[in-house]
């Protein structure tokens, strides 16, 4: 819009966001250490959901491979923690596997800045390479999605197979300190929680900036009509590559936070099932709205832990029922509920619904 007005809707939104942020920052006062740690984990997942929403909700590309990017971030952080915990000696699992010397690619992970950079840039780079070979050759839709699944299988198989270098099925665990502070202490956990909240807000604002910029409009244009975008002079492949790579970087960041909160990363946390679950958070929260993605990730994981605590035997059925209900009754996800209130709508008539937006099927 040419003129930015602080309309009533804008004020409401701003108030809601501020309240949500304040609530998140104050959560340590209200929650037990255990619950706070869970929430921290969910918020890390929310960062993945933001990135997925950018590539799926806004660009129309369904990736079922974000578990890999998440996992790479997690491994990068875990490698640093492991090196730190081993105190100059060979990490324990290498010893068991008969290695006598530290592999060359482990060496740089002695440095935390390197590990953090790698945790974001490695997934981003991997996504860029995959995007280069697919988007440039106009592989998209279901074919692209299948390729991302292949990426998951290749990566998990590799990580499981190379036990001496990656810890195999067990993954990387058995570290307890960051900067000499115990990862298990409530104090550290609280700080890590705040760091996660800050990073989530940062990621949200960054995504919001991208989505509102002309770049975001071009992404939506590519989703609506890739060829049309091409004939007015945009190169969709570059836009898709950048969006995919950015999205993977966010997943990597989330993976690093996850390891700090949970204390383990293993191939099963980056496999097919988690990759699909990540997509469900976005689908259920509401694709194409950033707040929806965050809400979806937090709500779904909250539901998952509540159901599994209360009904350990049949909780999975509840989850299944929830999916069915949302898919059937709320095709636009939880965020779509807000669109039902007239006063929250920003655009006149001819609103979504009839606009023919199509997403690749789940």
């Amino acid at each position: 819009m040419p003129i930015r007005k602080l309309s009533a809707q804008r004020l409401w939104l701003l108030a809601a966001y501020t309240a949500a942020a304040a609530l998140l920052f104050c959560a340590p006062l209200m929650l037990s250490d255990f619950r706070l740690n869970l929430l921290a984990k969910f918020l890390a997942y929310a960062i993945v959901a933001l990135g997925l929403d950018l590539i799926w909700g806004y660009t129309g590309i369904l990736s079922l491979g974000h578990g890999v990017f998440f996992g790479l971030g997690g491994y990068a952080m875990a490698m640093y923690l492991k090196m730190d915990a081993s105190g100059g000696k060979l990490p324990d699992f290498m010893d068991w596997s008969g290695l006598t010397k530290l592999p060359w690619f482990w060496k740089p992970f002695e440095s935390l800045p390197f590990a953090i950079a790698a945790g974001i840039l490695l997934p981003a780079l991997l996504a860029l390479i995959l995007g280069f070979f697919t988007f440039r050759n106009r592989i998209r839709g279901v074919y692209f999605t299948i390729l991302t699944q292949a990426l998951v299988i290749i990566t998990t198989t590799l990580f499981i197979g190379q036990q001496a270098y990656t810890g195999g099925t067990n993954g990387l665990t058995g570290y307890s300190k960051l900067f000499g502070f115990s990862l298990g202490s409530p104090e550290t956990k609280r700080w890590l929680y705040w760091v996660t909240v800050a990073l989530l807000i940062g990621a949200f604002l960054l995504c919001r900036f991208l989505v509102k910029s002309r770049f975001g409009k071009v992404l939506r244009a590519i989703r609506d009509g890739e060829n049309r975008a091409r004939f007015i002079g945009y190169n969709p492949a570059i836009y898709q590559m950048v969006a995919f790579s950015f999205s993977a970087g966010l997943a990597g960041l989330a993976g690093m936070l996850f390891v700090l909160h949970v204390g383990i990363i293993s191939p099963s946390m980056m496999g097919i099932v988690p990759s699909i679950e990540m997509v469900l958070w976005v689908a259920i929260g509401g694709r194409g709205t950033l707040a929806g993605a965050v809400i979806g990730a937090v709500l779904l994981n909250y539901a998952k832990s509540t159901f599994s605590e209360s009904y350990p035997n049949i909780w999975i059925l509840f989850m299944g029922a929830l999916f069915v209900v949302v898919v059937v009754f709320l095709p636009k996800g939880a965020a779509g509920l807000f669109g039902q209130f007239k006063w929250l709508r920003r655009r006149k008539a001819a609103d979504e619904g009839a606009d023919g937006v199509r997403y690749p099927a789940v």
């Binding site: 040419p2 770049f215 409009k217 609506d224 060829n227 091409r230 007015i232 937006v357």
Partner: protein
Amino acid sequence: MKEQMESVILQCDEVTVDFDGFKAVQGMNLTLARGELRFLIGPNGAGKTTMLDVICGKTKPAVGKVLFGGSRVDITRKKEHQIAELGIGRKFQTPSIFASLTVYENFEIAMKQNRGVFAAMRAKLRKEDAERIAAQLDMVGLADKAQWRAGGLSHGEKQWLEIGMMLLQEPEILLLDEPVAGMTDNETEKTGELLQEIRKKQSIVVVEHDMEFVRNFASFVTVMHEGKLLKEGSMDEVQRDDRVAEVYLGKRRDADASRSTA
């Protein structure tokens, strides 16, 4: 025609398109002068749309060259978005607009600008941009629907939206595929006048079936038949040509055709 021929903007040389053995276009030559409004007509399957596809890069010819602009670069090996950036705009037969974007946003991204990723991230709507878009909105009569989602417009409005997008793109050549299909007489008239207005600055190639429209607005017509050039000339010359009457107008015994052969 002579003075126009002095500044050629587009020259198609011996273009042949092969769809798995079927030659949709065979050795077609087409020369377009700067500021020319050229109508491309012919019976169904004559290869008119394929010819536009070749020029805008959608279809790659098996043989032949398409030379564009003063530097006469061969654009047949370039990608679609590169051709668009060089200055060739295309309007397809069915309106293709970005349905989930608003009318305003459609214009905003179509506007001539740096199409790079990072330029798009930093792009701001400058005052002159806003004025140009506002002027374009007025011209296509969508000013009061600027904040509508484009998917909610009527067929005719979508056509106009797309024409507006193409004008904001400021191409040197506009390729229009049946621009008046589905338009009312009034809208058709308005489109014809618009084409006359555009040709003052840009060149246009129009594929059209509506013979009345062609008669009213065409000065120079190219007739294609079975992928080949059949006849080129003024509308009068073309109408008097026996071969044209036989393959095209003669075969179509509708009211239009019989009037033109009479």
